[in-house]
């Protein structure tokens, strides 16, 4: 008798564990009314698709469009899941590039569905807006995509004398935007050449900077100080035109990429005129 019960309990515990393991991730309801955004560019993407009214909470850093500043904040890279749950969203949207690896599990534990958007390159923005449009049934997603795409195409340039551009994200040590990044894509789109050959966000050698200084050095205006850039140029005995750019539009892959492209073209045109 004892042995039989042991056997049954043993086997059924396996089945229970197996069933739990196969449990599917929570699915959003057919109509999503309340959404929480976990990244500033995700907020902008949702707003561009026409669903700003559905956003009930954002991460600490979302600040565009203006209206989202008043919304409840749920945290940064490791958001407060309790705060998110308290907002009773139908869907949580995050960006793949700065998402905590445990986020899916944490949200599943409180039965919150998660939508993860790939937004690391310029080409990934339009599909992200479309995905959001489908998931949230946003009215103007298609319109936003076509407007953004056509504006972006208008900003595409080829230049006879393509200047070498370096997008600096930190000066000591020197970290730059390489190929296959959002900033790298912007540089290529506007007809310039990225002085950084490597992919991703490499640490750039000081002597390469000194021996072949870029024509233009761009840096985000909040994270990098102009003093640090001056010091870098002095260290390398290099001459380069250093321009501070709006960090919000140059480091957030979102609908405002058109503004970033326009700004970059303006900077490049100015450089071309004076050389």
């Amino acid at each position: 008798m004892n042995g039989i019960w042991k056997f049954i309990v043993h086997r059924s515990s396996f089945i229970v564990v197996f069933a739990l393991a196969c449990a599917k991730a929570p699915q959003p309801p057919p109509v999503v009314q309340r959404v929480v955004s976990l990244a500033p560019n995700v907020t902008e993407i949702i707003a561009a698709a026409g669903c700003r009214g559905k956003i009930v909470g954002t991460d600490d850093f979302s600040d565009y469009p203006e209206a989202v500043k008043a919304l409840p904040k749920v945290g940064g890279v490791e958001p407060d899941v309790e705060k998110i749950a308290a907002l009773r969203p139908d869907l949580v949207v995050a960006s793949a590039s700065n998402m905590h690896p445990n986020l899916q599990r944490a949200l599943a534990a409180v039965h919150l569905p998660l939508l993860v958007l790939q937004t690391d390159r310029v080409a990934a923005i339009a599909p992200a807006i479309e995905r959001v449009g489908r998931a949230l049934r946003c009215p103007s997603a298609g319109f936003a995509v076509s407007t953004m795409t056509s504006t972006l195409e208008r900003e595409r340039r080829t230049r006879a004398r393509a200047p070498r551009v370096l997008f600096v994200v930190w000066t000591d040590p020197l970290y730059v935007a390489g190929r296959e990044t959002f900033a790298g894509d912007l540089i290529t789109l506007t007809g310039a050449r990225n002085a950084a050959e490597a992919k991703g966000w490499p640490q750039y050698p000081l002597e390469a900077f000194a021996a072949h200084p870029p024509d233009l050095l761009l840096y985000p205006d909040r994270s990098v100080r102009s003093r640090a850039v001056d010091l870098l140029l002095h260290r390398a005995r290099a001459k380069a035109t250093a321009v501070a750019v709006d960090e919000d539009i140059f480091t957030r892959p979102g609908p405002r990429v058109t503004e970033a492209a326009a700004e970059l073209n303006r900077i490049l045109d100015l450089w071309e005129r004076s050389h």
């Binding site: 890279v77 994200v169 930190w170 000591d172 040590p173 020197l174 970290y175 950084a196 050959e197 490597a198 966000w201 490499p202 640490q203 750039y204 050698p205 000081l206 002597e207 390469a208 000194a210 021996a211 072949h212 985000p220 909040r222 994270s223 990098v224 100080r225 003093r227 640090a228 010091l231 870098l232 260290r235 390398a236 005995r237």
Partner: protein, 318 residues
């Protein structure tokens, strides 16, 4: 002894030459001497000070390491054991979390202050009536390092995202942007430290059989310990403030030297300094050329270069 010194000096000079010749940009000496401004900038303003700085840091860490190992009679002692690395990293992490990393030059000063404060704290904790108990010293250092690690993790969690990568790279050790000013500053620290350590070297040598044995031979144990620890910690703090935490050099270079030459402290000290200098110069050169157009942390290469050599020596010495 003279032969060993000469050999290591030659190795160091070759290493310096290699480090100046290697880099991501192809530069010729002739062009530099001939007046090419770019070549001159690369060779004399970027590579040479960086190579010399690597040599000074390697010397400082190895000398501190061998001093700690001898005074504490502990082969696992390294220059960071008395809380120096933890204190410096703590200072750097806190100042990064406060956003000070964007102000050029501030973080190294805070890091140095942290290193000194940590060492002082460890000493105060380890004081006994007659002398500084090495065991209490080690334990205090261990415990404080653990505390600093916790503070560092918290600071990094709160630091602005954009400053984090640089802070983490600092903790792995970096000689990026070394200036002649850095070289001059560290040269003063290293020179003073070496002179002081050589002065007390004969007394330090007596610690080989323990503090009590040294005392019975007339050594002022308390004074020698205090000077040895203080000087080693200060020079390590200076090195760490400049370049971050470069591990391995201080711990294993003295062992490498001891495996080859088996001498007492008076000889081991200058030999370790030379050996540490050569190792770090080579490691830094490797970190610059390993990848075509980016740099890797130098601490990885001190281990990659040193460990196989150390293991082969260990096997042969059986």
């Amino acid at each position: 002894m003279a032969g060993a010194m000469a050999l290591l000096t030659v190795i160091l000079l070759i290493a310096l030459l290699m480090a100046t010749a290697l880099g991501s940009v192809a530069v010729s000496w002739r062009a530099a001497l001939g007046g090419d401004a770019t070549a001159r900038a690369v060779l004399f303003d970027i590579r040479l000070p960086r190579a010399l700085l690597a040599a000074l840091i390697g010397a400082a860490l190895a000398a501190a390491g061998v001093t700690f190992q001898t005074l504490l009679r502990n082969p696992l002692a390294d220059p960071f054991i008395l809380g120096v690395s933890g204190g410096a990293a703590c200072g750097a992490a806190i100042s990064t979390a406060l956003g000070w990393a964007r102000i050029p030059g501030l973080v190294p000063i805070v890091a140095f202050g942290g290193a000194i404060a940590a060492t002082a704290a460890v000493f105060v904790l380890a004081q006994r009536r007659e002398y500084t108990d090495p065991t209490r010293l080690l334990l205090s250092g261990l415990v404080l390092n653990a505390l600093f690690s916790a503070v560092i993790l918290i600071a990094f969690a709160l630091a602005p995202e954009s400053d984090l990568t640089a802070a983490v790279r600092w903790m792995m050790g970096t000689l990026f942007g070394a200036t002649w000013g850095d070289v001059a500053l560290l040269a003063v620290f290293v020179a003073v430290a070496m002179i002081v350590l050589m002065t007390i070297a004969n007394d330090v040598r007596m610690f080989a059989f323990g503090a009590d044995d040294a005392k019975s031979r007339g050594v002022d144990v308390e004074r020698v310990q205090r000077i040895g620890f203080a000087v080693s910690s200060i020079v390590t703090g200076a090195a760490v403030a400049v370049s971050g935490i470069i591990g391995f050099v201080g711990l294993l270079v003295p062992h490498l030297i001891r495996l080859i030459w088996r001498r007492d402290f008076r000889v081991l000290l200058p030999l370790s300094a030379l050996g540490g200098a050569a190792l770090l110069v080579l490691a830094d050169a490797a970190s610059r050329v390993a990848l075509p157009s980016s740099e890797l942390p130098v601490g990885a290469f001190t281990a990659i270069l040193g460990v196989p050599f150390f293991l082969s020596l260990l096997r042969r010495s059986r």
